[in-house]
């Protein structure tokens, strides 16, 4: 491979936090490999951090042609300004055609900033990527209008063409121990005058849920209105010996931890019974519950898309329905115990 392959090509941002569970970078490298073969170009994984040697080797083993590395103690922790300025400088120098990253909480913060800095477009939360055979442009398929339709987005004039993709959308290539590649260390300048200083970081303690294996799942959406209201779902789940899941707005609001997130960026469930309460039925969420045997939907909006996939629909305010449901279930449970 000659040095000109560093210019242009497909870049994948290396998100190695929580590796080996977090596989999104490997999945994007695999997709990048497929796109690169169509476009006749190379795949470069971009890696920032301290002592990231093993990740460079992993990315080569999983299909990257090149790994571009910045090793520096200042990069040990993610700092959005520093990361943005470094990658932006590299992108301006090397001019990649495509820049991909995971649609994780990290990607959601970092990629919009980077796109703004590079004055280019960004398609967030993509569900597919392909190449237009006529133009060679990247077709970025992403949910639009609240997830009610899928839009195909192109970036015809600006470069790089940027997209974030949900974890699990693409399959990673198997680890190839015989693989070799190039490792490139561009010059870096670490500005000590960052506006944001990370004083310390602490991993959030998350209570493990057993959502994937649960036979009964109760899912709450943003329509519940408050974290207090959401807590009643745990009472319902306890009565039905189930688990509680949530949609993304609920997680973003901090009503529950991310371990309970259902959807493209969260978990996928296949329970015998799923009760979906105050969820509209956005595509990002419903793809994760398709495997449920029976779905009961409760929503005040009779036109909510969730009713289209529900086996049983109940139109009403959750604040009115939930207490009645809990009371009825409690009576039945105590009655059953007496018998």
């Amino acid at each position: 491979m000659d040095t000109s392959s560093l210019a242009h090509g497909i870049w994948v941002f290396g998100d190695y936090r929580n590796y080996f569970q977090n596989r999104v970078t490997l999945q994007l490298i695999a997709k990048g490999r497929e796109l690169a073969e169509t476009l006749g170009t190379s795949v470069t994984a971009v890696l920032l951090g301290k002592e990231v040697h093993q990740f460079a080797m992993e990315y080569i083993a999983h299909g990257a042609d090149v790994v571009m590395v910045a090793e520096h103690s200042a990069l040990e922790r993610y700092q959005v300004e520093l990361y943005t300025s470094l990658i932006a400088r590299w992108a301006e120098a090397f001019q990649p055609d495509i820049l991909l990253g995971g649609a994780t909480s990290f990607g959601r913060e970092f990629f919009p900033r980077l796109a703004k800095r590079l004055k280019t477009g960004l398609s967030a939360d993509c569900m597919n990527l392909s190449v237009d055979p006529d133009t060679g442009l990247l077709i970025q398929t992403t949910p639009a209008f609240g997830g009610n339709l899928l839009a195909e987005v192109i970036t015809p004039r600006r470069r790089p063409q940027m997209a974030t993709v949900h974890p699990g959308v693409f399959k990673e290539l198997p680890h190839n121990v015989n693989a070799t590649g190039r490792v490139v260390y561009p010059e870096i300048e670490v500005n000590a005058e960052e506006r944001v200083r990370v004083l310390r970081s602490r991993r959030q303690q998350v209570r493990e849920s057993n959502l994937e294996d649960a036979q009964v799942v109760i899912v709450g959406g943003w329509g519940l209105g408050s974290g207090e209201e959401f807590k009643t779902l745990f009472e319902l789940a306890e009565l039905l010996e189930g688990e509680v899941g949530a949609t993304r707005p609920v997680v973003l609001a901090g009503w529950v931890d991310e371990g309970r997130l259902l959807g493209q960026t969260g978990k996928t469930v296949k329970p015998r019974l799923l009760i979906s309460i105050a969820t509209s039925g956005a595509l990002q969420y419903t793809t994760a519950i398709n495997g449920a045997e029976t779905i009961i939907a409760i929503n005040r909006d009779s036109h909510a898309p969730i009713f289209k996939m529900a086996d049983l629909g109940l139109v009403g305010e959750s604040s009115a329905v939930l207490p009645l449901l809990l009371e009825t279930l409690r009576k039945r449970m105590s009655g059953a115990r007496r018998r």
């Binding site: 040697h53 093993q54 460079a56 520096h72 120098a93 693989a179 590649g181 010059e187």
Partner: protein, 179 residues
């Protein structure tokens, strides 16, 4: 923007000048009289590094000649001390001439060297830096299967100034021509 590069393997690499390299050599690795250090490519069926070298002191006297991790000539009366993750070469007075340690990752290996080595003219060619070594002068990062005969990607700049600049900023090549 300037950059340095080398070739890496998914299986095993050395850390030299802060960079991953599947193999590298310093000096003439075929020399029978002069100094050299050869860190050969490790095939995926093996996990141990392959180090060959002629280790010399500041006065250009041969201390130990090493061939594939084994002492071949030993005028300095050195010895090999093995450990769980590698080995070290010590001279008759117990001074460590070279240390070789291999770190195992989940799916690969990284070998770190520590040594202060001189060539046949008494010039410093290798010295410890950060967690491994930095090398001076005509050294090569391997490109193909055998760094003895294959050439060579990314010849490093010569001189100590380069190494000082290397710490923190990594200039070497201008890629403006690629745009």
């Amino acid at each position: 923007m300037k950059y340095q590069e080398s070739h890496l393997s998914a299986h095993h690499n050395y850390l030299v000048n802060g960079m991953l390299a599947q193999g590298f050599s310093v000096g003439d690795s075929g020399s029978r009289n002069g100094f050299f250090l050869l860190a050969d490519i490790v095939p995926f069926s093996e996990t141990a590094p392959r180090i060959s070298a002629r280790l010399m002191d500041e006065e250009a006297r041969l201390l130990v000649e090493l061939e594939a991790n084994r002492i071949r000539e030993n005028p300095g009366k050195g010895s090999i001390e093995h450990s769980l993750d590698g080995y070290r070469i010590v001279n008759f007075s117990g001074e460590v001439l070279m240390e070789v340690r291999t770190r195992a990752f989940a799916n690969g290996y990284l070998t770190l060297l520590r040594a202060r080595l001189f060539d046949e003219h008494g010039h410093l060619k290798v010295e410890p830096c950060d967690e491994s070594i930095c090398v001076y002068g005509g050294n090569y990062l391997s490109r193909g299967s055998n760094p003895k005969s294959e050439v060579i990607q990314g010849r490093l700049r010569q001189g100590k100034n380069f190494l000082h600049r290397f710490r923190g900023r990594l200039p070497v090549r201008d890629v403006s021509c690629l745009r």
